[in-house]
Chain length 201, copies 2
């Protein structure tokens, strides 16, 4: 069995990456999700081990000290990181592993897994992004402005990603992410073993 | 409108690349075919301007002298080449241009168009390739042996291509080629203009 591919998906808040992933797992059964660890408080409905592994600050720092996280960053005063062992096991089992990480973490993952695929999800426009954030009805004007500012900062990293996918239409965005994943499985650099097999047939 | 992508498809004889392309054009209407020029004699049913541009040796050599071919090679005593002007016009019009070229020509195209995508079509196995060649019923044992030998030589170039697609099942191979093309359209290196557009929105 060939090793799976680590796939990093980053997107500014409001670009719909959670919804994209939810749909994506329904159409691609070779994908698994890498659950991140964090020290932030669980929000309503979030379950430990599903949304995140919720850890205390000292537990998280012990994971770092024990070299148990692939990468971690501190964001708004909380740690966010990728547990190493689970990812390695899933890749070895041939599964493609989705890592939902913010842009700086994505850059770190690329250093660790040079074979990983980085996908950036873009909003169709900032006007639309603002409209979507406002539509939630839960955010203050100040939070919206801060998220837009953060999104603009994150877009500065987009060209360091391998692919850019615009989430204008959800179904199309889901298909597009899946297209990229399926295509990457056919790249020559991932198929040296297949070529040998055919050569020796 | 963004510029189209030059897509090179190579495959040993008997791997079904003509049938793949025929089906591919039915499912992707942004693709156009770059008709090659050749000095070989037309086979039954082949039309000038559709299968190939059939040219005399001196006409072809004038095209070379006038810098009107992107690349050319001599193969079994005949010239085969890619007319430059038509390809450039189609790319500028935003069309993705399919170039069906043998492996050495493919390497030359990559030098000219660094942005091109190289796809190699593999047989599922040499046993199967031999069976397919024999099934045609038109080839002598000697020709079959020579084609298999040629196929083995061409496979030595496969890892220089960007993607490898196995033609075991025709429908799957057609979908796979299309998946690669659609995915490449989303690569960051081809979408600098899109990113600027979103940034300035």
């Amino acid at each position: 069995m060939s090793r799976g591919i680590p796939i990093v998906i980053s997107a500014p808040s409001g670009c719909g990456k959670d919804t994209i992933l939810e749909q994506l797992f329904k159409i691609n059964d070779n994908l698994v999700y890498s659950v991140s660890a964090t020290t932030r408080q669980p929000r309503e409905g979030e379950k430990d081990g599903a949304s995140y592994f919720f850890r205390t600050r000292s537990e998280f720092e012990k994971m770092i000290a024990d070299n148990e996280v692939l990468e971690y960053t501190e964001y708004c005063g909380n740690y966010y990181g990728t547990p190493k062992k689970a990812v390695e096991e899933m890749l070895s089992a041939g599964k493609d592993v989705i890592l939902k990480i913010e842009v700086e973490g994505a850059m770190n993952i690329k250093k660790i897994f040079s074979e990983c695929v980085l996908i950036f999800v873009l909003p169709p426009s900032f006007t639309e992004l603002e409209r979507r954030l406002r539509k939630r009805g839960t955010e203050t004007e100040e939070t919206i402005a801060s998220r837009i500012k953060q999104a603009r900062a994150e877009l500065e990293f987009a060209d360091k990603f391998d692919y850019m996918i615009v989430n204008g239409d959800l179904d199309k965005a889901v298909r597009d992410v899946n297209t990229v994943i399926l295509s990457e499985k056919m790249s020559s650099k991932r198929n040296a073993a297949l070529l040998e097999l055919v050569k020796n047939s």
